[in-house]
Amino acid sequence: MKLESMRYIVPDAFHSLQRNGWMSFAAITTMAITLLLCGVFGILLINVNYAAGTLESDVEIAVFLEDTVTGEVLTQMETTLKGLPGVLEVNAITKDDAMSFMVERYGETLFTALGGVNPFPDCYSVKAETPEQIDGLASKIATLPGVLKVNYGKETVDKLFAFTDVVRSIGLWVMVLLAVGAVVLVGMTIRLTVYARRKEVQLMKYVGATDWFIRWPFIIEGALLGMFGAIIAVVVLIFSYGKVSDYIDSAIGFFPMAAMSGVLPMLALYLILGGALLGIVGSVFSLIRFLKV
């Protein structure tokens, strides 16, 4: 295949896409949905990994105390925590500190909405010397009398991974099914093109065109279908990522989201390549049956 032949092949492929309008539309739409889903999962995984990285290296344990822990016992608690092996630093965050932090963030109405009662427990922030000590330290603190519960990054990460494992295994099957659908629809579209151009294909054989020369236009058409689907998916992702990330930021403030500029270019590239690949697979399938490859 010489580059010069692209001058004819590419416009021909676009012409075919037009001629098979509805079929092309169906193939592109399925492709877009498949790739959009891939993109969403991709973004989810990237962000979970990103969050894991951030949270895992976090050496802080939040220790929440029961309401009964006051006065003498409270100061003793601080000494106990400081005395534990591997503890670097202990900071007290009192009920009042917590409340004023929340009021600062969400406004005075929150306090009113809570009926003027402060629901936050007293809390200590314990810093470990190294991230490796966090697990052991946290479980030790949890057993101390007067401790309501402990919260720390790695625990959140483990929960996140459990969640994404479930999502991933369901999502994988959905994606595989959709991808098969997309491949089949591309195959059907290409079959229509082969049929519409059967006279031309026959003539090409008669005048001595190579098999590959004959196949290329169909393969390119398949790749185009896939790439158009991918472009739609990418556009939807670009528009929604910012919005979703803003929403998550305001809803669960602590969850770190990777920046769009860092994530999307690579993802877009993968999606477009993936779309092209699926499209090529689809057209190769129909060429095997209809052009005696």
Partner: protein, 227 residues
Amino acid sequence: MIIQMVNVDRIYKKQNVTALKGINLAIDKGEFVFLTGASGAGKSTMIRLLFREELATSGQVIVAGRSLSRLSAKETVIFRRNVGMVFQDSRLLEDKTVEENVAFAMRVIERPKKEIDKKVPEILERVGLRDRMKHFPHQLSGGEKQRVAVARAIINDPIILFADEPTGNLDPDTSEELMELLREINDSGTTIIMATHDRNLVDTMQKRVLVLEKGRLISDRIGGWSL
């Protein structure tokens, strides 16, 4: 000798039809050969074998020293580039102009654009359709369409031109004109094998005539149609 057939049979097994039986013949380079016989005699089948669209059930079909049944896919492609074919229905692409239809044969074997741009007008001049370059097939008469088909078949300078009833859809005068064109092409050195059952054409041309009857070669002589 450019074409040789040795004990060639062609049997369509499924339909249990013996289209050709025990064909032996030799054709020299530069000859003009008519292939005649009643409808169903096996003319088209013979052309398909020579064009390697089909393979002989038994026997050898040898073109330019090569046994066609032994050609690989790659060699078949090369073979096709060295022979031309014209059908009764001209098989032009309706959505392409005359110029594009002729260029098609060069384009799909990836000849350089420069060469295509130079050669297409030349060949259209030669078949007398220079002023029809931008027309579409539906704007042409039957005779003109066949000229375009001939132009497409010879643009890559084939050593052999096959034609299966090229005048089948044409009136006598137009047929004569097409025959004149084929004669010119033959005079310039291209071997021509033409299937026809047009008695008058064969008689006026006074060339070699092969007669098929029910798949057998029953006559091979120079001159007119009659036995």
